[in-house]
Structures are given as structure tokens and as C-alpha cells.
């Protein structure tokens, strides 16, 4: 949460808020039938019309941001979406856009795809994890072999957010020259997407099999030399969105638990009057402020393209993902038994936090990355 918002940013925030109120309810998430998607293309299209896929895309490529600082606007939006555990492809679409924008001008031209994604006409997903694998984007087992007129991709990806609904996949693959990324239509021959059980009800995951999928030379994103840098940009956006949506969710659940502390009475006095519980609230409030602090610092660094952006996103992810769980589990504890029921909202947030913790590097992964970046 930024300390001060401009009038334009407030308007942007409130337009997002009212669309979410109209299109989305926590109750709907709770009542999803097995196999039923948590979101549809129409609602994403409405979000895109409000600029949800435009913030980090330059104006000449069809994007634009209200504050002129796209990453800040993206962070603001992610908080709004996170505060209601909103479903939809916000994270994957913006991550793919970060990659396409970073690659712009270095490899084949993807302007048309960027414009279609910004407009919400197309949805894209980042296929980076592989079955059984940990966070290691640089070590893809999916193989891309050069053919006479393009590439042939073989292998399996999993934990692909929005993979079932996506039109396009941004696939990390190992070529004879090293890691590369390819834009692959899900409709291409040899692509099979299937649903994967997901802890977060709002974020359907998919497994993607690539059996001799043939793509043209123009499917490559960037060049072998720039891939690592592009993947880093994508990671930075993924981590920022995760941290900001966690902050939004934490703010909401902390407020709910505060209200509970004042309203709930035991032995003739409110829970908020017991020192043992007051101290837990004080800890949670402190961690929450720390989560906001590190998320905003990371957002500023990514916005500025500062050289310490890789460190600061890892600082934020390793911290926020861990504290989000401390805070949410404490919220459950303070609520008592009702906090572990299906009907309560807390588990929807805990699902999101647990899923966010796991994806795009766990806190432990990012701590090791911090040691690497510190040249220890």
C-alpha cells in the first residue's frame, strides 16, 4: 500500500474495486463445482478494458498507465485483486507481457500479440515449471530442436496458471544454444492441456504436454543472449504481483480479525482486552507494516529498473510469503474453530498465500538467490 495516491490512481483503484464487486464474490469461489472454472474470458475482458493488462506496456505498444509509472499501478491493482482473492489471469498475462515488452526489438516482432493481450482479446500463460521440479527456470527439460523452418518442442510443463483458458503459452525450453522462450498457441497440434488439482480455488492450474509441437522461427521471444534477462524481468513482475496481492489480502484479513477481537466476548470481556491476544495483534500489525514496506521498496526498484531490483524482489518475496502465513494462521487461531471451516473466508486467503509461497520460488529459494546475488 502506497502512503499517498494521486487522484488518478484513486480513480483507477476504485474502478477496479467496483468491477470486482460486480463480477466476483468469495461465496462463488466457495461454491465452485469440481471442474468449474473460477473465471471466464468475459470478466477478464472487462478488466482489460479498465487497463488491467496495460500498466507495464508502453503506449506505443497499446499500453499505458495512469500514474506514468506502470509498475506502481500494477502493484496497486494487484493489491485490489488480492484483497478479494480475485480469480483470473492477471498474474500470468502481466508476466508474459513483461517478457514480450522486455524482448521487444531484440528478436521476432510480437507487437500484435502484445496488443491483443492488452485488449483482453487473448490470454497468455507462462509455462515454466516442470513436473516434480523446483523453481529453476534456467534448467528446462522441455527441448526445442531446430528444424528446417523453425522449432520442434517436446516435453511437459505443469503448474501453468491459467493454462487451460489461455490462447498462448510462453514456454521455457532448452535449445542447443541454451535457454529460450517460445510463444506457442494452445491450439497448435501436439499441445495437450489438462487440469491440475490446485490448492488455490481461484487459480486453476494446468499440465501441458508438448508432443512434437512445431512452431515457426517467429515464435521465439528475444534471443538466446537476452533470454536470461527477459526471464528475470518476468520473475520480477511475478514476485511483485504476488507480494502486492498478499499485502492486499493480509490487510483485509487483519481488519476482519481486528473487528472480531472487539466484537467477540469471552468471560464478559472482548478478546481485544486480553494482553496475550493484544500482543499477537501487535506482532501481526508490525509484520503487516513490514510487508507493505518491502513490497513498495521492491516496486520502486523494479519501476526504476534499478540494479538492485533482483535483490529487492527476492527480499520482498522471501519475507512477505513467510509472514503472510504467520499472519493468516494467527488470524485463524484468533478466530477459533470457525476459522478452519469451509464457510469462513480465511481459508480462501490462506490457499492463495500458500500457493503464492510455493510458486516462482519459495522463501528458501529466494534466500539462496540473495546469497548468490551478494557474491557469498
Amino acid at each position: 500500500m502506497e502512503l499517498e495516491l494521486t487522484a488518478d490512481q484513486k480513480l483507477f483503484q476504485s474502478s477496479a474495486r467496483s468491477l470486482l464487486e460486480k463480477d466476483h464474490s468469495l461465496d462463488r469461489l466457495r461454491r465452485l463445482e469440481p471442474g468449474e472454472s473460477a473465471w471466464d474470458r468475459d470478466s477478464w475482458q472487462r478488466g482489460a478494458e479498465l487497463g488491467w493488462a496495460a500498466t507495464i506496456v508502453p503506449e506505443e505498444l497499446g499500453g499505458g498507465s495512469v500514474s506514468g509509472e506502470g509498475v506502481r499501478d500494477l502493484t496497486l491493482l494487484a493489491e485490489e485483486l488480492g484483497s478479494v482473492v480475485a480469480p483470473g489471469p492477471f498474474l500470468p498475462v502481466n508476466v508474459v507481457l513483461a517478457g514480450l515488452v522486455a524482448a521487444h526489438g531484440t528478436g521476432p516482432d510480437h507487437t500484435a500479440t502484445i496488443e491483443a493481450l492488452v485488449a483482453g482479446e487473448q490470454v497468455a500463460a507462462w509455462a515454466v515449471y516442470e513436473p516434480g521440479g523446483h523453481w529453476a527456470p534456467e534448467a528446462a527439460h522441455v527441448a526445442a530442436s531446430p528444424t528446417a523452418d523453425g522449432w520442434r518442442l517436446d516435453g511437459t510443463k505443469d503448474r501453468v496458471e491459467a493454462g487451460l483458458q489461455a490462447d498462448l503459452l510462453l514456454v521455457t525450453a532448452t535449445t542447443p544454444e541454451g535457454l529460450a522462450q517460445f510463444l506457442v498457441p494452445t491450439s497448435a497440434e501436439g499441445v495437450t492441456t489438462s487440469p491440475q488439482w490446485a490448492l488455490d480455488l481461484s487459480r486453476p492450474l494446468a499440465e501441458v504436454r508438448l508432443d512434437g509441437v512445431v512452431v515457426g522461427p517467429d515464435a521465439v521471444v528475444g534471443t538466446p543472449a537476452t533470454t536470461a534477462e527477459i526471464v528475470e524481468k518476468q520473475l520480477q513482475i511475478a514476485l511483485l504481483v504476488q507480494c502486492a496481492e498478499l499485502c492486499g489480502g493480509l490487510e483485509k484479513m487483519f481488519a476482519l480479525t481486528m473487528q472480531w477481537g472487539f466484537d467477540r466476548y469471552s468471560f464478559g470481556r472482548p478478546l481485544a482486552s486480553y494482553q496475550a491476544l493484544k500482543h499477537r495483534y501487535a506482532d501481526m500489525r508490525t509484520w503487516l507494516e513490514a510487508c507493505h514496506s518491502t513490497t513498495q521498496a521492491a516496486a520502486e526498484a523494479v519501476q526504476a529498473g534499478s540494479p538492485d531490483a533482483p535483490q529487492l524482489v527476492s527480499v520482498a518475496k522471501s519475507f512477505v510469503a513467510e509472514r503472510a502465513q504467520w499472519i493468516l494462521q494467527d488470524c485463524v487461531q484468533l478466530h477459533g474453530g470457525i476459522g478452519v471451516t469451509w464457510e469462513h473466508d480465511l481459508h480462501l486467503y490462506l490457499r492463495r498465500a500458500t500457493s503464492d509461497r510455493a510458486l516462482y520460488g519459495t522463501p528458501e529459494d529466494h534466500r539462496r538467490r540473495l546469497a548468490d546475488l551478494s557474491s557469498l
Binding site: 481486528m258 481485544a272 495483534y281
Partner: protein, 415 residues
């Protein structure tokens, strides 16, 4: 100086950069770590460095010009502090001299006290300290027993204080004493500004588990003080102490505009970083060790990011002043996690030194022994949690058995 005449932060920064390069001694990164408990020469050095800053026109950046400062903004101070990285700075004077005692005098002192003491500190001539805590209790400051009684125009001070940080190096101290025993505890206190060389004041240094001797205890026997020694009003000393506690929380948490330069070495780890500990144990390549070093890097970063955000928020009014307790609480958590991580990394070597020297791992062990200092000094973490839950979150206050009761009727313990 009007706003139009104020130098911009960038111009100030560039001028500071050039001046520091020309005048300030560089820090020697390879210098051996100082032995704890033997720091008299550091205080002599701190006064020399402060005099150097003052001569160069870079002392007391956020203090008003009429009291010897520069009257510039916290942004100027932050820029200056950033520029001092790599230089020797009189960091010993940051807490409590400038950020607590001088800051409180600025808020509550008489014109004479402000003019004389603040400017002397800025010039590097004087060091300031606080005589607050007493052996009878730490958190319940207002329940103190040191008494001051008026004899004609002269106050006579009797009692005992403890935990006065670096008082042995100081010239003046702020001392809180009870001047009325017939009213509830907060209403019978008066703050005095007293010279540490006053006849009847006897001072001892307290040796801590890590060998540090930075804290002192004082015995006051019929110390005589003039009426002009009172800070604020008689029997309104709690208002002064409250400002002191606010400045203390702010300073310990890292949010004070009166802090200039940052300590080059993390005190909480006995002056060693976890990189040093990891390298010394030869385990820097182990994933578990790397994870712990990374966690420490992240915690230190988050601590600083939080200082920056919360101090801005308090400055703009987005958060109320008690939010400084957020910094206080997180500072303790981060420092303690740091000592724990250092112990994990040192592993089997934590309990031994190198030959007869404590070495890196031995020092990590000694730091671990004083781990709780981080959640005790400057008010305990439990008090910070009370502050946050009551003053920031609006939760009901803890019941107190001494509320609204004349102090001479309040029950006291045996120790």
C-alpha cells in the same frame, strides 16, 4: 532562512560529498574489531570527529540555526548520511546525545538550556545522557523512587539510577525524580538537567555478559541543583519523559532525523556480519548456510525499508507517533533472528575460539548470550506490543493497580 533560500537536497549532497572526501578520515574496513568494554578512546575520537563536522558546517543538520544547527530537513540529513558511507563518523553521539536528549531539550527545554546544551553538543564540546531507569523497575518508569526536595531555592536530589547508556562519557544528563508523593505517580515527577560532575553524584560502570561496559549506575547523595535545572515544569516531568521515550523509540528503531551517519558494523552481532561468520566456518557453500545468510540479508533490508516508510508516515501524519513502536518491535525481532542465524551458521564452532582468542565464532557465541538485549533496551518488546495494541490499534488498556492512587499509597515489591 526562508524556504526560497534553503539549499536543495541535491546541492547539499554534492557539497557534502566533496567536503567529506577532502576532510573526513576514511573507515578502515580491515581494522580489528574493538574489544568490548574498552572504548574510552572512541569517545575522545567521537568528540574530535564532531568538531571536524562542525568546523565544516555539517553538524546538527536538522537542529534549528538559533541553537547551533543548520535548520535543514530530514531529507538533507538522509542525503548526508548516505554520503558518509565509508567515512569515520561520530556515531557514538547519535544515541542518546543528539537523537534523544538534545531532541527532547529542543521540544521541552528552556531557552537557556537549548542555547547552551544543544549548541555545545553540536560543537563536539559536550556529550549528553539520560538518568531514567531505576533498580526498582524497568518498564514502570513513572513508578521511580529517586526524590528531589526543595530547600529554599535549591533542589536536593537523592536516589539511584541505572542503565544510563554511556553516562561515563557524558557531561550532562536528564534526570527524572519524584517531587510530589501525594499525587498519582505521573503527576509528581520533575525532570532535571544535571552535570555529571555534580558533587554527590557517584557513578559506576556496569559490566554486561558480552564484556560491554557502556551502561552505568549512579548514586545521588544530596546533589544540589538550582531552579534553572528544571526542564519543563515542576511536577510535569512526565510530559518531558514522554518526549524522551518517543525520541528513544524513534532513534532505536532508526527513524530519528537527528541521527547523522550510520554505524559501520552491526552491533547486534558483535560487529560481525553473517558473511564473516559463514566464511570463518568454511561452510559458505552449504545450501543451508546460504539460506540463512539470505534470510539475514532480507531481514536487514526489510528493517531499513520499514524505517523509511514508517518515519515518512509519522512525518506526514499518515500514522500517529506511537507507530514508532512498530520499528522498535521489528528491530528487536530482526536483531534476535540475526544472532540465532549466526549461531546456526557457526554450528559446532560456536563455543570455541582460536587459541586464546575468541575469534569470529567465539564472538558469535558471546553475542548470542546478550541476545535479549535487543528486546529489553529502550523499553521491552512487551511494552512495545502494549503500545501498538493500545495506542495504534485502539485496544483496551491494561488494568493498573496504581492508577489514580497517590504514589505514597501504591504497593511496592520487595526487590
Amino acid at each position: 532562512m526562508t524556504t526560497a533560500e534553503t539549499e536543495t537536497v541535491e546541492s547539499f549532497r554534492l557539497r557534502a560529498r566533496a567536503w567529506l572526501a577532502e576532510n573526513m578520515p576514511r573507515l578502515d574496513a580491515d581494522a580489528p574489531l574493538p574489544t568490548l568494554g574498552d572504548d574510552d578512546h572512541e569517545w575522545v575520537r567521537a568528540r574530535e570527529l564532531q568538531k571536524l563536522l562542525h568546523a565544516g558546517g555539517f553538524a546538527g543538520i536538522c537542529f534549528p540555526r538559533e541553537y547551533g544547527g543548520l535548520g535543514l530537513s530530514p531529507a538533507h540529513q538522509r542525503a548526508f548520511t548516505e554520503e558518509t558511507a565509508g567515512y569515520e563518523m561520530p556515531v557514538q553521539l547519535n544515541i542518546p546525545t543528539f537523537s534523544i536528549v538534545a531532541a527532547t531539550l529542543l521540544d521541552m527545554g528552556s531557552e537557556e538550556q537549548k542555547r547552551e546544551r544543544i549548541s555545545a553538543a553540536i560543537r563536539g564540546d559536550e556529550v549528553l545522557c539520560q538518568f531514567l531507569s531505576e533498580p526498582s523497575g524497568g518498564s514502570d518508569l513513572a513508578g521511580l523512587l529517586t526524590r528531589a526536595e526543595l530547600d529554599g531555592d535549591t533542589w536536593i536530589l537523592n536516589g539511584q539510577k541505572t542503565w544510563s547508556t554511556s553516562a561515563y562519557a557524558a557531561d550532562w544528563g536528564l534526570c527524572l525524580a519524584r517531587t510530589n508523593w501525594d499525587v498519582p505517580k505521573h503527576r509528581g515527577l520533575t525532570m532535571f538537567l544535571i552535570p555529571t560532575e555534580a558533587p554527590g553524584l557517584h557513578m559506576n560502570r556496569v559490566k554486561m555478559v558480552n564484556g560491554s561496559r557502556e551502561f552505568c549506575e549512579e548514586f545521588f547523595t544530596d546533589v544540589q541543583l538550582p531552579a534553572s535545572a528544571v526542564v519543563g515544569e515542576v511536577n510535569n516531568g512526565w510530559a518531558v519523559a514522554s518526549r524522551q521515550l518517543f525520541h528513544e523509540r524513534n532513534a532505536v528503531g532508526g527513524g530519528s532525523p537527528y541521527v547523522s551517519g550510520i554505524a559501520g558494523r552491526p552491533r547486534a552481532l558483535g560487529g560481525q556480519s553473517l558473511f564473516t561468520v559463514a566464511r570463518a566456518t568454511g561452510r559458505a557453500a552449504e545450501p543451508g548456510v546460504r539460506e540463512r545468510v539470505g534470510e539475514w540479508v532480507a531481514l536487514e533490508a526489510v528493517k531499513n525499508q520499514m524505517v523509511s516508510r514508517v518515519s515518512r508516515a509519522i512525518g506526514s501524519g499518515a500514522l500517529p507517533p506511537p507507530a514508532a513502536s512498530l520499528l522498535r518491535l521489528f528491530h528487536a525481532e530482526a536483531a534476535q533472528r540475526g544472532t540465532d542465524l549466526a549461531m546456526d551458521i557457526a554450528g559446532a564452532q560456536i563455543a570455541a575460539g582460536v587459541g586464546t582468542d575468541e575469534g569470529v565464532t567465539g564472538r558469535a557465541g558471546v553475542s548470542y548470550l546478550s541476545r535479549q538485549g535487543a528486546s529489553l533496551g529502550g523499553g521491552s518488546s512487551e511494552m512495545a506490543r502494549n503500545q501498538i495494541s493500545e495506542r495504534l490499534l485502539g485496544m483496551p488498556r491494561e488494568p493498573a493497580a496504581d492508577r489514580d492512587i497517590p504514589f505514597n499509597q501504591v504497593k511496592r515489591g520487595r526487590v
